[in-house]
């Protein structure tokens, strides 16, 4: 059940590439949050934030055990994210969450291999995935972390410590392979599988479209975490819709990212 809390900012750090990490004192939401779920954040006074903004729950604090706080990572994109960079420790925010349907973590079937695909700020939901996955599944997980340049690759050291394998890709070649993240992903998908595989992807729409096509063509299960402009986060405003891949009729053309998503099976939607 989502909760609408007043939460204090505990700390904020600039990560580079216009991205920030914000820690929030919100244990009740942190305890409930599953990987891929999100929170709505804004200042409590509607005169200061009329429309809250959605962010993936990125990470729980501490790393193991009972969660005491949660973190988001965000990229400065417009007016509200610029406003958020000015929040200081002690700033009180109106925090609603956890919201939406997260990733469904595959069963513990022996050998299931998880391929995470992140484009830039799309890395946001994956630290929580690894925390919730546990050591065994995290060890069988490969993260393909892509960005335009080295500064776009977030939390690289953190991921390296917890993930079986981390593959870095940049368009300018400043870190890891040069190119798009779909390059090494396609190579991996075309290699003989070690067992069952599942792809979880979050990033810009063109990347998600490409990942979905790669997976659908190879019949590999694929989950996409989508983002869309939304006003409420809990299914009422109908602002954040995405097109269904196979609508049953004219009236079922859209589904809500906030409620039916933000994580969808790639077979369900047209990202």
């Amino acid at each position: 059940m989502p909760q609408d809390l007043r939460a204090r900012v505990l700390e904020q750090e600039e990560l580079g590439g216009g991205c920030f990490r914000m820690r929030l004192d919100a244990a009740p939401i942190a305890r409930e949050a599953r990987a891929g779920q999100f929170v709505m954040i804004g200042l409590p006074d509607p005169a200061e934030t009329l429309v809250r903004r959605p962010f993936s729950v990125a990470r729980l604090v501490p790393d193991t055990g009972e969660p005491e706080a949660l973190e988001i990572v965000y990229k400065v994109y417009g007016r509200r994210t610029r406003q958020m960079t000015r929040f200081r420790p002690g700033t009180e925010v109106a925090l609603l969450g956890p919201l939406g349907r997260g990733f469904w973590i595959p069963g513990e079937a022996e050998g299931t291999e998880v391929l995470l695909v992140a484009g830039g700020i799309g890395a946001a939901p994956f630290p929580l995935f690894l925390q919730r996955a546990g050591k065994d599944l995290a060890g069988r997980t490969t993260l393909f972390l892509g960005g335009g340049t080295r500064d776009d690759l977030l939390l690289v050291d953190w991921f390296r410590e917890r993930c079986g394998e981390v593959v870095l890709v940049t368009e300018d070649g400043s870190a890891g392979e040069r190119g798009l993240v779909t390059g090494p992903l396609a190579a991996r998908l075309d290699a003989p599988p070690r067992g069952e595989r599942v792809v979880l992807a979050c990033g810009p729409r063109p990347m998600l479209r490409a990942v979905a096509e790669l997976c659908l063509a190879r019949d590999v299960p694929c989950q996409l975490s989508l983002e869309e402009r939304m006003a409420c986060g809990f299914g009422a405003c109908l602002g954040c819709v995405v097109e269904r891949r196979h609508p049953e009729g004219e009236f079922d053309r859209y589904v809500r990212v906030c409620t039916e998503g933000p994580v969808f099976d790639a077979r369900e939607v047209l990202p």
Binding site: P46, G239, V241, R253
Partner: protein, 308 residues
Amino acid sequence: MSPIRMQVKVGRGLVLRNPVLTASGTFGYGLEFEPFCDLAALGGIVVKGISPRPRAGNPPPRLVETPCGMLNAIGLQNVGVERFRTEKLPLLREHGATVVVNVYGHEVADYVAVVRALEEETGIAAFELNLSCPNVKEGGLEIGRSPRAIREVTAAVREVTSRPLWVKLTPAVTDIVETAEAAVSGGADALSLINTFPGMVVDVETRRPVLHRGTGGLSGPAIRPLAVALVHRVARAVDVPVIGIGGITSVRDVVEFLLVGATAVQVGTANFHDPALAARLVRELDAWCEARGVADVRELVGALEENR
């Protein structure tokens, strides 16, 4: 139990338990707010506009925040009257909510069809005709800008319902008193003022409108002074109750609409910011009255001091 009398009458003998309702399109089918808000505590819930058949709505992006406001072009996505009747209404009844059904159509026959399909149902307090949506091709503003069309739709629906009939008007007209009088002459029991203002936001880098549809409806505190002025004008010109809508975020905003002549109000865009707001405003209005020795909330209606 508060000693303050909070009940208000909004046409055709309908008594609401208090004057704070939620505006159509900003409160879903009510059920989405159930985790945050006691639906039965509200004066009423005006549900998302219902059309004869389901509507998919417009392609995204459908909304964008603006200075002190929000622009939306949802396009009246809704489940249609049949699914509303069988899936949503029974749950609203269980919650004890006072339900006002907002009705949308392309033409007269559509409005009549929706009201007819619901007329025999229990648990509906009133119908509100949406003659003012800026985000759809047909109906909406085409009807809402024409006093003759407003009178025609209102009169046709009046024929098929014995329930209170409210008409929601657009501010995008030269003289809102003309459209208000047209609705009253067609048989409206109350008027809801106002729907959103047509607006546009452009992304100057891509040189494209932010909304896929191009234009949308502007809501939120940015439009409140405009709404207050229109309610003030219409409440003096017509004999039916007026329901004030536009950018309410606090109890002072509620009182402001009452003072200029609104009998009740609808909280809109701010429901998205704070899903518990409307229910809290009910309690705060009670406290506001008690602190100022107002024994009956109706004492505030039209109590504007016009002399300087």
